[in-house]
Symmetry: C3
Subunit: 437 residues, 3 copies
């Protein structure tokens, strides 16, 4: 009956350990040099599309999208920095993070004083390489461990950045998984960061696994999975899909899903959308977690929730951006994200979708007094006074055609899945009928 | 002026100590062998009706009532269990609790192994006899102190239950105490439990005393006092009074009113009915207490609040069912309920009715600026700046025709009775006029 | 741009230290013998009107005003009490507080027993003279340090009160400072207390300084500053201005503004008026403070908020009346109120007016996705990610034509002034447009 439990996903996809499957995808995507545009994003989308029916869109540089313009496409082939002694100090081959994203082509010899403004480090974490990008301001630079930066001596440094910034296109991928209804659930993850695992290979891997499952089970909603560069990607997608946005009933930005912190849900701008209530309910039963009100900072919920769209899109994550030290550094690596955390995120995310899928209102068909459950055998083997019996009693008591299953779950403090199970059994014994359908 | 204070009840009924009067009734009702149906209930109703104008209804076995059917009538004349040595181990004459309610007629000799499934005890309270009943499942059994049960040896046991389960009727009593208005307050107590004092001779005695008082004073509402077996009694009453339910404005299930715990009020399903606010207000001023949200478990509020009726009926009690160790055992006896606790319940219950009776909206007739109270002598002997003066000031300030006296009591944190007294004095000085009347 | 900061007031009025300027006015007003009516009030209004365009109204004794009547005018020229030894025990020339306000003319010799009911003291503060008044009950009396009172011996006492209680008038002053709109902000301070600094020379001085500033800057609202005796003054003003009250959009009673305690704001009777929200918001950012719900006790908010008017008038003060030991005693003196506390009150009050003046709703003109701020130079020198940038992001996110700047300030927890600054800058870059105007 339940289609949105992790057991169903496991059975459906024939994978033993979903967390490890996600971590394996992350490992494959980790070495790719991604940025807002370019071949790294294309390669990422190609890998995701092996198991997920992804349509990839290319939007030419210079295209006007809402208040923005699609930037030139950036690719980098080689990038290194050599010291006065000729020794390599940073090399793209060592880490994608060494070169500042969107660095313009550069071939130069400079003094330390001239070089210095182009170098970035994290003094508080001297062994980590920071992540920097400069899409909308023409610049170049290198990111170094602070320990390396501090050891630099006077002399002539040699810089080589063999990059291109040229007309090309912005790439994004979209998987449309049709459900019984045209109404849509939008799930979005950004794909523009280079070798950072939590931000956001974790989100990509979660949507990838979820999408594979959704492609094989029946569901009520049509799911739209979006893999796009942050900000300009979401804006491009919004600009090109404006007429269809009215179909979106619920949405989540999925990101930072693999770190060891507890799950955080950030509400949509509306604050009381169904997705907001569903996530809060699920997390209350899931374990330690945090709820946050909307603020216009973060990931692409900023665009989806902008006042001209105001879509009911929340943000599902573990530790929020900027609140873990590894954020935007080389320490956000394959060790930092774990199969356990990814698996835990999946379980919670499936439970949220389970609420959305089965949320509806019912009407008690024997509403005067309590119906005599005993003679009907509704409970089957479940114990009198047990959780299922309690859930049935709550469902009967509150199903006056106004309260929904989520209303009932909230008021009874029982998990939605149990309330839904109770409603299903009562329906099959003609004690309950869905309202409007 | 106040008619719902305990002093007025004392004067009106000429009894010195209401708590002791209730305890005396409990003592008289304690030995009677009650069940859902049968002569025990009839005898109980007969005793209650000595001082209260009770109409007793008999509804034949087999009558369809809502989703249920009135069960056969059960009576028991003799019931005992003898050990292999011929010694009596349990006897109805010792305690009504020894025999499981609705035990079918039985005359048998059994081995200990055959007997064992028919025996019930409370291992955690080895000297107490539990209370069990089996109305809707054909069975028989005995309840024993765990100490007795543990001492049983192999051998042949003799069982005798001389009971009858036959066509008959379900009995309930109803006292209708007309008020100025046809609008009704429903007060209900279940009468189906054998020798258990708190559950529910306490509720019966409280309604009995309250009813006697209400029969002798003027009141706004018509009071309907219902003495019926739990569940099936309430369902039967609802089935037979369905067309008149629209008159019910407020209601309380009264039960568990004599134990030493603090008063608990459980809200109606609506949660914000006038009775819910009245009870919460009274208890806030009464002393330590507990408020609970509605849940569809408990006593007959389950039926009155079922979604097809959704009556504004809360539950007034002390310690809720199942939350005191003596619950449903022989320890719920004449010692467990006290005259003090019963008297305290009465005081609070009267105060709740006082709110319902006098709750209304007024309009300040000198609403522009403060009226000059000094020259009018409205305060009489009451001190300037004292509680009555403060109550008058609040009443004048908030009586714009929208706020009711209970609204004012809540906002000012003054007791309703003081606010009502202030309104009465202001009315008699033409500074206030009731709205709609 | 900001006109309601203390810096603008300082520049505008050319005074270096506003707190000291207010304290200097208090020092000048302190010796004047004020009461509900009489020459002391007139002299006070004359001094206030030196720098503020005040129209002074005289309302004849005996005039009916709402439920009240304007009392006779009281003036006192001489008042003293001599002991049996001929020594002066109290003299009006020593302190205005020595004589009970509205004492009837008296010339008598009395025994201690006869005198005693006419003497008042503060046993818990034996060196302080209490303040008493008896406007509506014919009486006379003296207020003494408790130490003096305790030292009195048997013998003949001589009393002289050369006062007049006669037809005259009640005086109040009003400054009307027209703004762009006819809609009004009412600011009111009582002027009837003799030599008490916090109660209410502090409020008078605050309105005086504020009024001088408002007379010289452009503002949206018309400000009405009212200097009137407490209760009967407000009632008289209300009676005479009833037809114009509909113009009042916001109001504050300003009092007790110079003591060392934190600022207290007491909400209007409505509880959620714009002034209530503005004050709560400003104080949240101002520092330690207290918020109180309305109660019908206190100063003239009692009259303004009476149900027939229900004006949105709160009370701005520091420590509420009766909650500091110096209240209504000679210890409420020139030392008790400080320039620092007065200055702090001024800063907060200006900030509240700043909210009222600039509160409005805007509409984001680039509402779909985030507008690209970078290319527009909206931020100027302000840092990306700093408070102004954050405020702009919030303003853009929430300005859908429904949320006002105060709504945005509340939700973002940013100070209103910052949110207003952000809205101004966004407006000047055509990213925002006021709604309705």
């Amino acid at each position: 009956m339940r289609r949105f439990g992790v057991e169903q996903l496991v059975a459906n996809l024939g994978i033993e350990h979903p967390g490890r499957a996600m971590h394996a995808l992350i490992r494959e995507l980790y070495p790719i040099c991604r940025s807002v545009t370019g071949d790294g994003v294309r390669e990422t989308l190609r890998i995701v599309s092996r198991e997920l029916p992804l349509s990839v869109h290319e939007v030419p540089s210079g295209t006007r999208v809402l208040d923005w313009v699609v930037p030139p496409e950036w690719n980098v082939r080689e990038a290194w920095l050599r010291g006065p002694d000729g020794k390599l100090l940073a090399d793209l081959r060592w880490s994608n993070l060494h070169v500042v994203g969107y660095s313009v082509p550069t071939r130069a010899k400079l003094s330390l004083a001239e070089l210095r403004p182009h170098l970035h480090s994290l003094p508080e974490h001297p062994d980590w390489i920071p992540y920097k990008s400069s899409v909308y301001r023409e610049d170049w630079g290198f990111c170094l461990p602070h320990r390396t930066l501090e050891s630099l001596v006077e002399g002539e440094y040699e810089v080589r950045i063999d990059s291109s910034l040229a007309n090309g296109s912005l790439s994004y991928g979209e998987a449309l998984l049709p459900g019984a209804s045209d109404e849509e659930v939008l799930l979005s993850s950004h794909v523009c960061h280079p070798s950072l695992c939590n931000d956001n290979l974790s989100g990509i891997s979660l949507l990838w696994l979820l999408g594979r499952h959704l492609a094989r089970v029946e569901h009520r909603y049509t799911y739209r999975l979006l893999f796009a560069p942050v900000t300009i990607g979401a804006i491009t997608w919004l600009a090109h899909n404006e007429k269809d946005l009215a179909n979106i009933r619920h949405g989540l930005v999925v990101t930072l899903a693999g770190d060891p912190g507890p799950i955080t849900y950030k509400r949509s701008r509306r604050g009381d959308a169904a997705i907001d209530r569903a996530a809060a309910h699920v997390l209350a039963h899931h374990g330690p977690h945090a709820l946050r009100d909307f603020d216009p900072f973060g990931y692409d919920e900023r665009q989806f929730c902008s006042p001209g769209f105001d879509l009911p899109v929340g943000c599902f994550m573990r530790t929020p951006h900027g609140e873990f030290p590894e954020y935007h550094s080389s320490a956000d690596d394959l060790e930092f994200v774990t199969a356990d955390a990814l698996g835990d995120s999946l379980v919670a995310l499936l439970a949220v979708l389970d609420v959305l899928e089965h949320e509806r209102r019912y009407r008690n068909l024997a509403p005067k007094g309590e119906p005599q459950l005993g003679r009907r055998g509704v409970l089957g083997d479940a114990p009198w006074g047990g959780e299922l019996h309690r859930a049935m009693t709550w469902v009967l008591s509150l199903s006056d055609g106004r309260a929904s299953l989520l209303d009932i779950a909230e008021r009874s403090r029982l998990p939605f899945a149990m309330v839904h199970e109770a409603a299903s059994r009562l329906s099959s014994h003609d004690l309950l009928r869905p309202v409007d359908g």
